[in-house]
Subunit: 202 residues, 2 copies
Amino acid sequence: MNDTKKLGRPRTFDYDDALMEAMGVFWAKGYDGASLRDLTKAMGITGPSMYSAFGDKRELYLKTIDRYADVNGCEPVVIFETEPDIEKAVRGFLEKVIKYATDNGSGAKGCFLASSVSTNIGQVEGVAERVAAAIDDTDRRLAARFDEEKEKGTLPADFPSLERAALLYDIRQGYMFRGRAGWTEEDLRKDLDHRVQMILSH
Amino acid sequence: MNDTKKLGRPRTFDYDDALMEAMGVFWAKGYDGASLRDLTKAMGITGPSMYSAFGDKRELYLKTIDRYADVNGCEPVVIFETEPDIEKAVRGFLEKVIKYATDNGSGAKGCFLASSVSTNIGQVEGVAERVAAAIDDTDRRLAARFDEEKEKGTLPADFPSLERAALLYDIRQGYMFRGRAGWTEEDLRKDLDHRVQMILSH
DNA sequence: TGATTTATATATTGCTCGATACATAAAGCA
DNA sequence: TGCTTTATGTATCGAGCAATATATAAATCA
């Protein structure tokens, strides 16, 4: 679209790489906790470069969200979509969610959107719409998989795909919440069987 | 225990009232968003009085949490405990949650703990333990009601009270999340019947 | 080459934050 | 009535924040 050659000194850093680094900082420290110093240091650029390339802190944040939504589908959802057996898919989804929710390793717990960004909904303008779109998208992706199973006959024709998809999503949110409050992987795994059964019950 | 008369000038404001005012500010603006100016103005006291009476901002926050946990049981839970008919109790619980989650009136959405405090778990020391205790307490209160129904014979003897209680709690968390992201009451009410049925299914 | 344009680096801005030093007011105790 | 203790009010602290002004470096275009 815009093929016109650019004038002036070219950027000396990679835009997308810098965005990914910024995402990591926001993920680990949250929006308020991530200072411009933290961000620009991780991105390997100086303050003015950040402002000229991304606008301001808020715009940078929104851009990391958009990038995440475009590229990184949350891993649990990908597992749910690719595992052939539907019961294993549901179980695999929840197991991955539990792993994410209780992994203290990197400092970046859970799905960026569901776990980190979601806490800034009321605080940073533009976040709510993006989170809402992400929830909607995930609901639909999960429901689509259930619909496939209905066509294959693995699930009954009257299986309420969208309701179960939304329930699965909310269960994920519950796990994330409990994980952040200190529940261990072992704790959360206790009613895994029960929940898999509930999701697929008819 | 400590009946010794106090020396010196007595406090000219009511401790508990000030705490409730502070809670309102934290509720509406979050921990970071609530500045000392906001807090002391709402409490009707000056900075030094706040520090001498409550310690610092973080301690004030923790004290509002403890006070909320002691006094204000979340209204949905109370409804669930008092409504005689178990199906109406579950429905009433969820309806109240949806109301809370989508009410834009006061600026203080949802349960203070589940909706506001929970977003600061990783950020403010001492919050995680309190939230964990609150989840645990709520799980048990919900499960206790199911157990009562089992004794009355309204629910089957093998009804998994604790699992359903935890599920009910996580559904609440999901509603809160969607509400904050912009879902309307009408949106959330759509699969209310489905979820009531799931919670009570056997 | 010189002119233009854009990115970078240094240094610094004004602001708000949480927290306090200081002096004063008001209580109990002798 | 002093003396001690605690709360209050004013005024302000240093730190850290997001954001910029200014000058310099590196590219394209004539």
